[in-house]
Amino acid sequence: MNLDQAFFLYFAAMIVVFSIVTITRKNPVYAVMALLVVFFHVAGLYVLLNAEFIAALQVVVYAGAILVLYLFVLMLLSVPREALGAAAHRRWPVYALVGGATTFEIALLLARSKFAPRPGPYPPDVVREMGSTQAIGTVLFTEFLYPFEVISLVLLVAMIGAIVLTKKWTPAQGGEEGR
């Protein structure tokens, strides 16, 4: 075992433990905090896998934006504390057991499968040399130009949607919903 692997084991253990914490907390605020820990360790994992740009993205977008949004909505909902923790599904042990078994099987299947390397133009040394930011940027703005444009539409739609669905509604103005 070498140092990278030791780090990996640490990250993996934390990710798994706090993922479980996330889905078992009664109070969503605690779930959000656990998920924050998960995201951080996933970011650490990305650094180990030579993708520090993705790691930064993970922290900036997932931890810094998406999860804050969750927390924000949680606060805005102003759910009474007692009502916050919606109970688990009635048959949750069954689901958990079946899900766990399936997960185990998939994990085993994937771990045993062979994924032959098909060496591409970006071996780890090259990536480390040029920095993953530049490597990703080069590919993103050449080969992936079109998806890059289309993804902006996805974000635009999300923006319109969030405004349309949540903008304060005032009582009828001229028989219609106010703007």
């Binding site: 993708a51 997932y62 109970a87 591409g120 993953s132 990703i136």
Partner: protein, 101 residues
């Protein structure tokens, strides 16, 4: 000095599974949404690991897209949840049962 690919794949499968289990067992919509984030993260871990393994940037670039999509999804999902909450005062999916059949 590298991490075996199979370790990472096993990890991502476990995270994926935890997400799915969360989705199946919990009724609190906020936690359901968080489980969905776990599922997306599992896929992202896979993509980054394969990218490293295959010496190609494609996986990493796809992660950039999935993260963007995850942000869009979170915005829309939470907006829908807010609209629902304003009408029904609940975040429990079991209590959102107007339609049956």
């Amino acid at each position: 000095m590298t991490i075996p690919l199979s370790w990472v794949l096993a990890l991502s499968a476990v995270v994926f599974g935890i997400g799915v289990i969360g989705l199946l067992t919990r009724r609190n919509i906020l936690i359901l949404l968080m489980s969905l984030e776990l599922i997306l993260n599992a896929a992202n871990i896979n993509l980054v690991a394969f990218s490293n393994h295959l010496h190609s940037m494609r996986g990493n670039v796809i992660v950039v897209f999935t993260i963007a999509v995850a942000a869009a999804e979170a915005a829309v999902g939470l907006a829908i949840l807010l609209a629902l909450f304003r009408n029904r005062r609940t975040v429990n999916l079991d209590e959102v049962r107007e339609m049956k059949g």
